[in-house]
């Protein structure tokens, strides 16, 4: 009888992988987008089992609450998304399957044979420690993150403004 934590892990992994497979293979893009919900929630659960409580909460807030809704909006507001023509041919699935299997076998073998350094994790909550790290040792990446976001925002404005102009030109 496996331990409770192993069972929880297996359940969460199955949820994550199953939804991810559905995202990749579903023919209906809206179903794909909705299936992302399972992946995001599964990942959040995995974070909890790893004692990363703050990360789990952020995952739910940002990905489930924000990104997923955004993706759904994008899918539903894009006109004629269902009758999209794929211009690039899909390569041979057999070759891809063989390659992916080989990579998977190598990764699995190396991962199971490696003596990973394991250490006991301190108990939750981790929020205070994260806060201190971000305002101390990791201040630079924190601020750099805001520069990435600033740049991305300017870029988004540039690209979106073109769309508006195009709509205006058609009229």
């Amino acid at each position: 009888m496996p331990s409770l934590s192993a069972l929880v892990f297996l359940g969460l992994a199955a949820l994550t992988l199953g939804s991810a497979g559905f995202v990749a293979f579903s023919r209906n893009i809206i179903h794909s987008a909705l299936a992302l919900l399972g992946t995001f929630l599964g990942i959040a659960g995995l974070y909890v089992t790893l004692s990363a409580d703050f990360l789990a909460a952020t995952q739910v807030l940002v990905y489930v609450g924000g990104t997923l809704v955004l993706i759904l909006f994008a899918v539903m507001l894009t006109s004629r998304i269902a009758e999209m023509k794929v211009s690039n041919p899909r390569g041979r699935p057999v070759v891809a399957f063989v390659l992916v299997t080989a990579v998977l076998l190598v990764l699995g073998r190396v991962a199971t044979r490696t003596p990973w350094p394991a250490e006991a994790r301190p108990a939750m909550p981790s929020t205070a420690k994260l806060g201190h790290a971000f305002l101390g040792e990791y201040l630079l990446p924190f601020e750099l993150g805001s520069i990435v976001l600033l740049g991305a925002m300017i870029g988004a404005v540039v690209l979106a403004r073109r769309a508006v102009r195009r709509a205006g030109e058609k009229e």
């Binding site: 190598v106 990764l107 190396v110 991962a111 044979r113 490696t114 990973w116 350094p117 250490e119 101390g136 040792e137 990791y138 201040l139 630079l140 990446p141 750099l144 993150g145 520069i147 990435v148 600033l150 740049g151 991305a152 300017i154 870029g155 988004a156 404005v157 540039v158 690209l159 403004r161 073109r162 102009r165 195009r166 030109e169």
Partner: protein, 506 residues
């Protein structure tokens, strides 16, 4: 001076070049909003150039003063001669691109760039900041963040052309490919972090060295992690098999952006690649008793990259697309020097990057000058008869192309000479194979560069009237051609300077 680790506040003095860039970015946004229309472009260019002069000047000042090496921000960033050298290089490249993107004045010529000039210069400066950080990162988190900063800006810049399906297609491919490459790189980083329990390159190095000594070989897990991380680095330098985005993006993007992407982020990719391998993996200082897989891995990448780049360039009619493939091939040549993992190899790469900046920027500038006068035509036919229609620009193009081929008396020859000599000094059958493949590739490249030369001088175009090249473009082109020639005859001081500026924090 002993190496010191500074905290956040004490680091700021050594972080001044980047602070200047950030200030200029914010200033550009405000200027774009508030300036009078007449002064807008001039102001944008002046602010950008001033910030770049500050960044490059501070880098040169640190080099001259021999400051450092220090660890900044609790060891996240390295402050050493290596990072300062790249600050100078990036400031120069970005400055050239800023001049390059000044829109033509007067009516009649359709501007290739869209009307959002302020945003364009802002994004270019942010990209420059990201490249500076890439060359200085000593922490996996920072490597990822700075790489992503450069990537996101590149995506937007690649899609900057208005109403152009190719530009949009290139940008979208770039986004998808960049996302996948970053994902694989992050996955590789998680393996490295898992085995070393640290994201700091120095601590990774200590742990990996201990494991290597314990097992008598490089642990498999480090190999897997590094191979995955190579996806991210290889995508930045457009090495095969991560090069697929290059031709479409380079062809679709506005020419100044193409020139920038082919030089700046590529150099930054090499900087972070060299630092990661010599810092975290200790590939340059490994004891000879332990056989490392890195030379073979890098050698295979180099051969594949060169060959794919050169063979694909052969049949291209569009000069921009041809230069895109040629830039893949040049990444392959630089990987040759990388595969040696010696100080001579790193010096050869750095010197090649310097020469490559001049010749590649110059070649793209000529393409832009020609395309501007022929209604956006970038194919070979636009170059027909250029030798008579615009003698000076055509002569500059000859210099750039000869240099790209790697023939004397140009900078490209000297750069390639150092690459091959580093390779052959290291010795061994494998190095000889690499060198022979490299030479064969150089010969192949002569074919497609010569096609442009033939079109310019031997073929007659439909139009015979002289081409009026904008003075700014013409002057910058000549300013790039002179060092390309000069470095081919008298390269000693520059090479010595570059080679002495490669000491890295370890």
């Amino acid at each position: 001076m002993e190496t010191r680790t500074f905290d956040n506040v004490a680091s700021l003095a050594y972080f001044a070049p980047e602070l200047g860039l950030i200030a200029a970015v914010l200033l550009l946004v405000v200027w774009d909003l508030a300036s009078p229309a007449r002064l807008k472009i001039a102001g944008l260019v002046v602010i950008s150039l001033a910030a770049l002069a500050w960044s490059g000047g501070m880098g040169a000042y640190f080099l001259a003063k021999d400051a450092g090496p220090h660890e900044l921000f609790h060891g996240l960033l390295a402050f050493d001669r290596f990072s300062n050298l790249f600050r100078v290089i990036f400031a120069f490249v970005t400055g050239a691109i800023v001049l390059f993107s000044v829109p033509p004045r007067g009516p009649g010529v359709a501007p290739e760039l869209r009307r959002d000039q302020g945003e364009f210069f802002t994004l270019i400066l942010v990209l420059s900041l990201g490249m500076n950080l890439m060359a200085a990162s000593r922490h996996l988190l920072l490597i990822y963040l700075s790489l992503e900063l450069v990537s996101v800006m590149s995506f937007v810049l690649a899609g900057f052309k208005i109403n152009d399906a190719r530009s949009s297609e290139g940008a979208l491919k770039y986004v998808i490919f960049g996302g996948v490459a970053s994902g694989i790189m992050l996955y590789g980083m998680s393996w490295i972090f898992g085995i070393t329990a640290s994201m700091h390159l120095g601590e990774c190095a200590a742990r990996i060295a201990a494991l290597t000594a314990q097992q008598g070989k490089v642990p498999e897990v480090v190999f897997v992690g590094t191979a995955c991380m190579l996806a991210g680095f290889g995508y930045k330098i457009s090495a095969a098999p991560f090069h697929m985005w290059t031709p479409d993006v380079y062809e679709g993007a506005p020419t100044p952006v193409t020139a920038f992407l082919s030089v700046g982020p590529k150099a930054a990719g090499f900087a972070v690649l060299v630092r990661f391998f010599s810092d975290a993996l200790g590939a340059g200082s490994a004891s000879p008793a332990v056989a490392t897989p890195w030379p073979v891995l890098a050698g295979c990448l180099a051969m594949a990259t060169m060959t794919i780049g050169n063979l694909s360039a052969l049949g291209q009619e569009n000069v921009k697309r041809m230069l895109a493939y040629s830039s893949i091939a040049h990444a392959g040549y630089m990987l040759l020097g990388f595969s040696v993992f010696s100080d001579a190899g790193v010096a050869a790469i750095a010197f090649y990057i310097v020469t490559y900046c001049f010749m590649n920027l110059g070649a793209f500038m000529v393409v832009m000058a020609v395309a501007e006068q022929s209604g956006g035509d970038e194919t070979l036919s636009a170059f027909r008869g250029l030798g008579r229609r615009a003698p000076l620009v055509a002569a500059a193009m000859v210099v750039f192309l000869v240099s790209l081929t790697g023939l004397p008396p140009t900078a490209g020859f000297v750069g390639k000479f150092y690459l091959f000599s580093a390779l052959l000094t290291a010795g061994g059958a494998w190095r000889w194979v690499l060198a022979i493949v490299g030479v064969v590739n150089s010969v192949i490249s002569l074919f497609y560069y010569a096609r442009v030369l033939r079109a310019m001088y031997l073929e007659k175009g439909e139009r015979t009237e002289p081409v009026a090249v904008r003075p700014l473009l013409g002057a910058t082109t000549c300013a790039l051609a002179v060092p390309t020639l000069l470095l081919g005859v008298y390269w000693g001081p520059v090479y010595d300077f570059v080679a002495s500026s490669l000491s890295m924090l370890r």
